[in-house]
Assembly symmetry: C2
DNA sequence: CTTGAAGCTATAGCTACTAGAGACCTTACG
DNA sequence: CGTAAGGTCTCTAGTAGCTATAGCTTCAAG
């Protein structure tokens, strides 16, 4: 049986995060020791590793909740899981496209910086003005999800 | 003089966001009409456009605060602005690299989905297991900033 | 002068955690 | 068996960057 610390270490998740996942119902309430400490088995480790991996892939917790509910009754079709993954892929592609445009603009800003005073700094100027933008970045923000 | 709604429209920022920026000190408190409504001039529009553009480029508000303090006394060297921009560029590059790896893995997951039941769904399996990962994505999470 | 849109303040909520306080449990060593 | 270190407990509050709600007031058009 694993303590919460060992579980966290094994799965690569911090201890308070595990308790948080339990609180929001992503992890079931585990057994407790005589002294009220959480004790975990292999299934908790598997589930937590699953959650961690999905988080790393950028899935929001709600999507992970859905995926977990699929694994909890494994006789359903995996079409739902497929849809979730495709949605995530589309989001990832969109973010890459946006970030690539941002990268180009930042590089342009930096190379134009004359190392002078702020009064003629291209970095500041670029940020004050959209006219130099190589690509449109109005509308959906990279940061807004 | 612009109302808060017109200002938001002109700068592409939502009204509550403008009030939020004022609250946290990114925008100065504007004049008020006789009936206590905010009235803005050109300088507020410039400043707000600057903030919006910087946000779109992925700058955190604290970096924007620094950049604004540079523009507020424009006789300093622009080296500080340059440093902020370079730091941001590095962050953007790192995010692109990570997202590209995630994209590859998501694509692999999806193409392997056999359209069967969850029991043999590759999407689910991929998320349970790191062994197929084309690239390491332990450590720093894409989502963690 | 009326009406409807836009504005006001204040508070609470969102995601996904992270940090702190102060008490309690477990375990290894002597 | 005692003790000390370090892990764990609960609870609360904080983070970023907004967004939403409630209940009210003000403004501008007709």
């Amino acid at each position: 049986m694993l303590t919460i610390g060992k579980l966290g270490e094994a799965a690569g998740v911090k201890v308070p995060t595990i308790r948080y996942y339990e609180q929001i119902g992503l992890l079931p309430e585990p057994e407790r020791s005589a002294g009220n400490q959480r004790r975990y088995g292999q299934s908790a480790l598997d589930r937590l590793a699953f959650i961690r991996h999905a988080r790393e892939l950028g899935f929001p917790l709600e999507a992970i909740r859905d995926l977990l509910s699929l694994t909890d009754n494994p006789h359903h079709s995996c079409a739902a899981a497929d849809i979730i993954a495709k949605k995530q892929l589309a989001a990832v592609k969109a973010r890459i496209a946006r970030l690539t445009a941002l990268k180009a603009e930042l590089e342009r800003m930096i190379t134009q910086c004359a190392q002078g005073t702020v009064a003629d700094c291209r970095v500041i100027e670029s940020l004050s003005d959209h006219s130099h933008c190589a690509q449109d970045h109005h509308g959906t923000s990279e940061l807004a999800e």
